[in-house]
Subunit: 217 residues, 4 copies
């Protein structure tokens, strides 16, 4: 299970960062075209990864998803920590893989500024929505979840000012790519705090909305 | 149920308006590229929202869909009014959320002119088609409805001259954004009238085409 | 059934022609961007139309599909003629509707030259592939047919030199739009001949490949 | 079965090469737009081909997929050789068909340089991922496989530096097109070696990850 989480998160980052590099190199300066390509690759790729690894590890690829499952008592705290370590390790491996495929240095700090309250608010909304989607669709139409998550991220790349990181492992690893998808290390903590807050808000709200009963551990 | 309608409609507007802002900012003046991005985000996002909230409130997010259900006797008039109030409130909240995420003022009048008979005819056709799709697919393949509605709007953004609002709550709320997705308040009543007319025409036509029997209340 | 064929084909043409007009107006001269938008709208729209009308009329919207069904003995010759008349009438109504929505004259000859053997060969291949896809998918995974046909046309807009009309009713009606999707009336007969030839070739080939037994009337 | 493999691979190459020609001709020099169109056509087309021919031949269209099945003992060595011959023949026929539809010479060497370790590493990763996706999704959600493979290639066109050939038959045939999708014949052997290595690595890894038991012949 931990190998699936690590490998899946690694592919996710390779897709996000790699397609960002390719898109920026080819787009001739038109950022909308670059982001369209980056969106298409990420949305399609994320759906595929959830389909591939879902039956093995539930395909979280995201510490706040794991955190929500642990809070709900659906996985032990120990397993949750293992998941998060696997996700973060995988995320960094994925960035390194993308850099290797495009002939970039293994890691380098990002200089891509993503600061200010609109960005922070965007991460809150993006993560709130992501968790709500996962909860709602998993509950009523579980087989559609991989498509729903891919489509949500497709939309969220565009409707949030931050292009929707919505994932602390992704945020950390993207601080170490100097390419299109990067984020300055100094901006990462704000993103991660907003993501955790958005996830917890979604958890509380969806408990009420979807009438879920929290299973005590 | 009302909370799901309000929140879903709010996310819908955040997606339509937010992705419009992002697309226009990045597209370097090419409106086709901006509309492509806006289309992709809206089509994917609408599908996800219906998947997420469908089991809770049937995911109308649209007063004319609610009106049609009420006319057919599938929901009480009182509940229908609650739905419409939730939808309109949610729509304004969604516009405000999009503006917040992109650092715009909470609300401002739109100056985007969308006038003339071709635009009115477009809204009639767009809403007629939307209701027909919902009726036809819900009846024969209900599980495919979220995908059908998302795909219909994807097409309708391009095949109608108005980019297919097809939703009075959406039309009202988009009158208060000065961005890509806006519509001048003075143009909104014509759109809304055409939408209601298109919905009623679809209702009558689909009763005959799909041999539906109206359930009396 | 005939009403569903007529209305469905009408919407199909409104989508093809309407999205072509919108795309060309907005694309600032970049034909690839215009065709991308036209492709997205057509692929998504065609899938929706088949989902909506499939349960009523089997959603042919295409005389060569009807021809193939009649040759296979799955529908009477009389019904087939009714279908084809409904499809052609609907196609012209759809072009008129698109022109109405975009403030163009009801009908006007196209000046868009689409001549030469590569174009003819393209229509043969496009229609051969379309019929093969319909046969193959209907036989093994009928529920996936609407998605398969939409995805096939998405691909065929790009991999054939003619942008894949693959439909005599569509070809006839597109001769009367002076816009992006048009074809000169003088070029239409060659297209239609190639489409019929491609359909018959696919019929013979798929009988053998999919081991179908032709039902005698 | 061999006819299905040959015809399917032929359509695959016609789609890849044909849409590349169309995209490059129309894109006005913007390579990102050309690759977006090429991606859309390939992803949609590949999904359709697997849906169409899957029930006949399992729709490999790829020698390394056939190799993996033979190694696992799910098909005889003799049948596997037949598949590979059919795939390579079909691939060349598809390139010729695309050239015919676009008025190009039947075959011509490509001058498109795709050399260097990043490209080789990309093919390794692309093929490793492709086989992992096929294994994982076929095992847990077989009906979703056509969509998963199409979506994977959609992502892989962008997240690898080589645009993800991931298929020796495709690589060989693309050496003989002087168009957008081409690869210099001198670069093909490195690609093919990396593809075979990636496939074998995926085979070993997925045996462990998905706890598969190799059936002995």
């Amino acid at each position: 299970m931990l190998a699936a989480e690590a490998l899946g998160t690694s592919f996710l980052l390779a897709i996000v960062v790699g397609s960002g590099i390719m898109a920026e190199r080819l787009a001739g300066g038109n950022v909308a075209i670059a982001l369209l390509a980056n969106t298409l690759a990420t949305g399609a790729g994320l759906t595929v990864l959830i389909l591939t690894f879902g039956a093995v590890s539930a395909a979280h690829f995201n510490p706040v998803v794991t955190l929500a499952e642990a809070i709900e008592g659906r996985m032990s705290g120990k397993l949750a920590i293992g998941y998060v370590v696997a996700q973060i390790s995988g995320a960094f491996a994925g960035v390194a893989a993308a850099h290797g495929m495009f002939g970039e240095r293994v890691f380098a700090y990002s200089l891509h500024m993503r600061a200010g309250w609109p960005q922070i608010a965007s991460e809150f909304v993006a993560t709130f929505g992501l968790l709500l989607v996962i909860r709602g669709v998993t509950r009523s139409r579980p087989a559609a979840t991989p498509f729903a998550v891919g489509a949500y991220i497709t939309a969220a790349y565009w409707f949030t000012a931050s292009t929707s990181f919505a994932n602390p492992a992704v945020t950390l690893a993207r601080a170490f790519t100097p390419t299109f998808a990067g984020i300055r290390p100094i901006d990462a903590p704000g993103f991660i705090a907003a993501e955790i807050a958005g996830a917890i808000a979604a958890l509380l709200f969806s408990r009420w909305l979807f009438c879920e009963t929290a299973l005590s551990r």
